[in-house]
């Protein structure tokens, strides 16, 4: 259905960004806050009204072509938006959670002289993110995709006078560009195969197997960049250099989930490329495990949460990778609630401790900041799944789908049905994912216990204090959402609020036979609960309140090498530095110094000039103005001519 107001949803935050960016410096602080908050709230309200209207009937979709952005030959790119149940839900998450984080930021950034710049970037981010999810073609999506990358760059390096923070921003952008390279080529391939860049047009054109594989694979490369998956996840932990509300909004709740969203949006493409789906699930599973084990040994509270995000994003990719697009996106939504809550909680802790981020120097904070402690605990329950609230079901659904899905049973890497089978992948992913769930429970409870329990271990002159209401209110809202978000993922068949039911018909169905069941749901729930409690028990044994940081010492003593490797993030950054960064840089210097300066300029250009000069110098010898020599040469010449012409003949 064509509507005429969708453009307002991304436009309002864009206007807010323009106002704050251009005028924010000169107008009173309260104006900046008001504008920044009101535009996001208005976007939320419009989105909400639209969502209610649209979701009444299954299959309804609001569509708007704002204008034709550019058209060249057969390429026709509209700035077109569409609101369906998936993008609608994400609009609500982006503007809703986004509004809470804007509100929280008022307390967080108030004392920083760059507050106007901060809100301009934050508004711009919301606008770009809304364009990303609303965009009705790959190019519009790519604009949002790059726009959020720009805002991420600007906000990670928000305190740019610190070289490390500036570096983190740059690293994030460049690593993301590696993914964007894949995204771009993916767009080109799809356009050349289908003649369309809009989703409806592409969906209508069946693709040859190889084209689908390449396009899906290259787009997935983009997703590994934006959503911090192996091997491109390395930017996300460093991105924690940005202000903490930014980490909550961009690097937990919204931007980093863009890759998952993209795959869900392009489900019609991915089901045509089952091999790539398998790769998506496998990468997701490995990343989930990888992020979780590194998370066990981090002492920076934000780094723990960052690796946790990497790991949880991995789960989402398992979900979409096994063809259970609803499960991946459901976890996206519940994760937005509890991870935003965790990040904002960590921000409140850092704020209350005047910038301290090391959990070894925290402890006992529940006494000083009860609201933060309780909300953090609720969100931790949600992510670890020790009690069946939102995160428990959304994660378990993914793992159960991985185990029981038929997608892999008949999967072959080639279109040839007799090719090698990948049936073992599902159970493998289930086992590793379940182990990872236990590790998740361990590192999150470690983080919680070290931060809020035991004795306060920080310097005596720092007096921890609770944050103002403007910051604790969003914490409570998000904590409540983490609990009640469970209604989206309750495993009740035909439950009206169920996300699976709600998104029925939105996603394409992965190829494969009838779903088989290795394990019935009740068994997987049982395993999930046991694993979560085992993780909790491990954390409690090592880090129970009376022990303070003795747990880390014990850990270190038990496996010194492993622990040191984990503390150092498995040396991935160092390996990349040697293998990639330095090689590229040396190559660049070599090209310039040798090819450009020495061969082309030195040898060919200046060399030919010197050759001309040398010939000229030689010629000058004969033109020395000495008449006797001219006469002598002339005489010799005449003599030679005479000899040749007369004597020889």
């Amino acid at each position: 259905m064509e509507v005429g107001w969708l453009y307002l949803i991304p436009l309002l935050p864009l206007l807010g960004a323009a106002f704050n960016g251009l005028a924010g410096r000169w107008v009173p602080k309260s104006w900046v806050y008001t504008v920044a908050l009101v535009v996001v709230l208005l976007s939320f309200l419009i989105g909400f009204a639209g969502f209610v209207q649209m979701s009444g009937e299954e299959g309804t979709q609001f569509h708007e072509t704002v204008y034709t952005w550019f058209a060249v030959g057969s390429l026709h790119v509209d700035l077109a938006l569409s609101l369906d149940r998936l993008s609608g839900a994400l609009v609500l998450v982006i503007t809703g959670v986004g509004f809470l984080i804007h509100l929280y930021s008022v307390g967080y950034i108030d004392e920083d002289p760059g507050y106007w710049r901060y809100f301009a970037y934050l508004n711009l981010f919301v606008a770009a993110m809304l364009l990303l999810v609303l965009g009705d073609n790959l190019v519009a999506m790519f604009v949002g995709w790059e726009g959020v990358g720009l805002c991420s760059y600007l906000l990670i390096g928000f305190w740019f006078d610190d070289d490390a923070k500036a570096y983190a921003g740059r690293k994030a952008f460049i690593v993301n560009r590696i993914g964007d390279f894949g995204f771009l080529i993916g767009i080109f391939i799809l356009f050349n195969a289908t003649g369309h860049v809009d989703f409806a047009g592409m969906r209508a054109s069946p693709l040859p197997y190889a084209v689908a594989m390449w396009a899906a694979g290259l787009l997935f490369l983009g997703a590994t960049g934006k959503s911090a998956q192996l091997p491109l996840y390395i930017w996300l932990p460093d991105a924690m250099a940005g202000p903490t509300p930014v980490s909550a909004l961009i690097h937990a709740a919204t931007m980093v989930t863009a890759g998952v969203y993209m795959i869900a949006r392009l489900s019609f493409l991915y089901v045509q490329a089952p091999g790539i789906l398998a790769l998506v699930a496998l990468i997701g599973c490995l990343t989930a495990f990888w992020g979780a084990i590194i998370g066990t040994a981090q002492n920076d509270i934000k780094k723990v949460l960052a690796y946790s995000t990497v790991s949880q994003l991995g789960y989402m990719f398992i979900g979409v990778g096994v063809g259970a697009f609803f499960a991946g996106t459901a976890h996206l939504i519940t994760h937005a609630f509890f991870k935003a809550c965790l990040f904002l909680g960590s921000g409140a802790v850092i704020h209350g401790l005047h910038g301290e981020q090391d959990i070894a120097k925290m402890g006992g904070l529940k006494k000083y900041m009860p609201h933060t402690a309780i909300t953090f605990a609720i969100a931790t329950v949600a992510i670890t799944g020790v009690l069946p609230i939102s995160g428990f079901f959304s994660k378990d659904e993914i793992l159960a789908q991985a185990l029981n899905t038929s997608a892999f049973k008949f999967l072959t890497l080639t279109p040839d049905p007799t090719g090698p089978r990948l049936g073992f992948l599902g159970p493998l992913i289930y086992v590793l994912g379940t182990v990872t769930a236990g590790i998740t429970s361990f590192y999150m409870w470690r983080c919680y216990l070290l931060t809020f329990h035991g004795n306060y271990r920080g310097p005596e002159d720092v007096h921890p204090h609770e944050s103002p209401a403007v910051m604790t209110l969003p914490l409570w809202v998000l904590a409540i959402l983490s609990v009640v978000g469970v209604v989206l993922v309750l495993p009740i068949h035909d439950f009206p609020w169920s996300w699976e039911h709600f998104t029925d018909g939105l996603f394409a169905h992965a190829r494969g036979g009838a779903p088989g069941e290795y394990l019935p749901p009740l068994v997987t729930y049982g395993i999930a609960v046991v694993v979560a409690w085992v993780g909790f028990a491990g954390a409690w044994t090592l880090y129970k309140p009376a022990r303070n940081i003795a747990g880390d010492v014990a850990f270190e003593r038990a496996t010194p090498r492993l622990r040191r490797a984990l503390v150092n993030k498995l040396y991935v950054d160092e390996i990349y530095d040697v293998v990639v960064v330095r090689t590229v840089w040396r190559g660049a210097r070599l090209l310039w110094r040798v090819v450009d300066a020495a061969i082309i300029d030195g040898l060919l250009v200046n060399g030919s000039a010197q050759l001309v000069a040398a010939i000229g110098a030689l010629g000058r010898r004969f033109q020395n103005g000495n008449v006797q020599r001219y006469a002598a040469v002339t005489a010799l010449g005449v003599a030679a001519l005479v000899y040749l012409l007369l004597v020889r003949t």
Partner: protein, 533 residues
């Protein structure tokens, strides 16, 4: 005579600057008579230059408004006889291939003129050694001659006229770099001159060959004449006329002529391996001259290839297309890598121009509508972005007197407005969607992919390398702790604002509304493409 005169607008655009030159000559005369003081003569020449370039800009706006994009043929024609003995004509006109470049030339010349003025407050750092204070009447006269030459090249539809304008442009450029340039100005100026001249010689030989092997007409005197009329020659070429020309040392004439012309144009693009004059010329040239060099002069190479090689020798163009694409990809990736190794900011930006011009080659070599439209669009977008980049360099060089990227640090705290403008220009150049550079690169790559899959994928890696060198430069110059040497650095002044903001706004406008340009160019390019099929 086909294509009769319909308008004198282009002639006015070409020669209005020449009128300015004559006026400046009068000023110089009065100065030597002692009637005018040095200061009066300087101011008078500045005003003349500004009025002339403003007038041309106004005419360009009128041209844009009156241009009919639905007509792919040449418009605004002025046509007359010039040298009847050789059937040389004065024949100017504009079509979709040239219209954007004529407008761009007017715009960039205007910006460069403003950038040459030391007028507005905040220019106390410009001492008598600054280019804007030295031999002002001569400088302004050269700038105007240059403008005549550049506009003439894009308007000329007679090949002889084209060649004359092509060479006219060379001399003022030589002097502008050689007199008002930096410390190695003589080396750079001579290098520029010889490089271009070497290319021109090959071009001239090819032109003569095309003339004698080209179409003939019977003149009023009953004698048979050859013709330099580019449109007639294009018609001849489309029908395969040059294919039947006698062999040149055993090789196809069309191919030899194609290569000769191509090398002449490739020097200007500049295409690897003929690019090494560019970094030197840019580094030594004063800021406004770099602006013109990057904004307009480089476009002539691509324009020439489209107007002459593509139109006149379509068969040879098809034969050479893969080679063009290969060189395009080399330009894109090789120059991007070289950028990564640069320490001089201006040299880095010069190499980045080499890299971005490679997209034109790749796109046009693909013979797809997207590829060729993207190539011409890229002339426009690069024509807006690269002048802004060089102006950005000029701002910091005027103040710090060096351009060593590592010699700054933390400037964003001290000069936030400058930092914002620099960020805009850098992000535009690295192809951020929403800014105009993205559209042309996207279109080129999209159009080239089905034809040159591997080369396109290789070229697309430049999105990573380009982001790397720009962001690294931003970090080293702008972020981190403020270098104490620049604690009193002044932010951009009004002269710089007058040049930077218009370009910045246009970069954003055409990022969101590129259709304004695509509409102008598409019709003529579709015809050009049809001739190649």
């Amino acid at each position: 005579m086909d294509h009769p005169t319909t308008s004198s607008l282009l002639t006015w655009m070409i020669f209005a600057p020449t009128i300015g030159v004559l006026l400046i000559l009068i000023v110089i005369g009065l100065r030597s008579l002692g009637t005018l003081s040095k200061q009066q003569a300087d101011e008078a020449s500045r005003i003349i230059a500004l009025v002339a370039s403003t007038a041309v800009l106004g005419m360009a706006a009128a041209l844009w408004k009156a241009f009919d994009p639905s007509n792919p043929d040449v418009q605004f024609v002025q046509h007359g006889s010039w040298i009847p003995a050789y059937n040389v004509e004065y024949f100017v006109g504009a079509d979709g291939i040239s219209i954007t470049l004529i407008i761009l030339t007017a715009l960039i010349s205007f910006i460069a003129t403003i950038a040459s003025m030391p007028w507005w407050p905040g220019n106390a750092h410009l001492d008598e050694h600054h280019f804007s204070q030295r031999a002002v009447p001569g400088y302004m006269a050269m700038l105007l001659i240059l403008q005549t030459g550049m506009t003439g090249v894009f308007c000329a539809l007679d090949m002889f006229l084209f060649y004359v304008f092509w060479e006219v442009m060379l001399l003022p450029m030589y002097f502008l770099i050689g007199i008002w340039g930096g410390s190695r100005k003589e080396y750079a100026a001579i290098k520029f001159f010889l490089y271009t001249l070497a290319g021109s010689v090959l071009m001239l030989l090819a032109i003569i060959g095309l003339y004698y092997n080209g179409p003939t007409v019977t003149g009023v005197d009953g004698q048979i004449h050859h013709s330099f009329n580019l449109l007639r020659m294009a018609e001849w070429g489309r029908q395969g006329g040059y294919q039947s020309a006698p062999l040149v040392v055993g090789l196809s004439f069309a191919r030899v002529a194609w290569v000769g012309l191509f090398i002449g144009f490739a020097v200007k693009i500049p295409m690897f391996p003929f690019h090494t004059w560019l970094p030197d010329a840019h580094v030594e040239a004063p800021t406004p001259i770099s602006v013109i060099l990057a904004g307009v002069l480089l476009k002539m190479g691509i324009y020439g290839i489209l107007r002459v090689n593509f139109a006149l020798l379509p068969q040879a163009t098809r034969w050479a297309s893969t080679a063009m694409a290969v060189f395009g990809a080399i330009n894109i990736v090789y120059a991007a890598f070289v950028c990564l190794a640069q320490k001089d900011l201006k040299r880095m930006i010069a190499y980045s121009s080499v890299s971005h011009m490679g997209f034109c080659l790749l796109g046009m070599a693909s013979f797809t509508q997207q590829g060729i439209d993207g190539a011409v669009l890229n002339l426009w977008t690069h024509g807006l972005i690269s002048p802004m980049l060089f102006l950005i360099v000029g701002v910091i060089y005027d103040r710090a007197h060096h351009r060593n990227i590592e010699g700054f640090g933390g400037l964003a705290q001290q000069v936030p407005e400058y930092a914002g403008l620099l960020g805009l220009a850098f992000f535009a150049s690295l192809g951020l969607p929403g800014l105009c550079g993205f559209i042309s690169e996207f279109t080129v790559l999209l159009g080239a992919l089905p034809v040159f899959l591997t080369l396109t994928v290789i070229s697309a890696t430049s999105v990573i390398i380009t982001a790397s060198y720009y962001l690294w430069a931003i970090q080293r110059m702008m972020l981190g702790k403020l270098n104490p040497a620049y604690r009193t650095l002044a932010d951009v002044n009004w002269r710089e604002r007058f040049t930077l903001y218009p370009l910045g706004v246009l970069i954003i406008v055409f990022g969101f509304y590129p259709a304004a340009i695509i509409n102008l160019i598409e019709g003529s390019l579709r015809n050009l493409l049809a001739g190649l099929a």
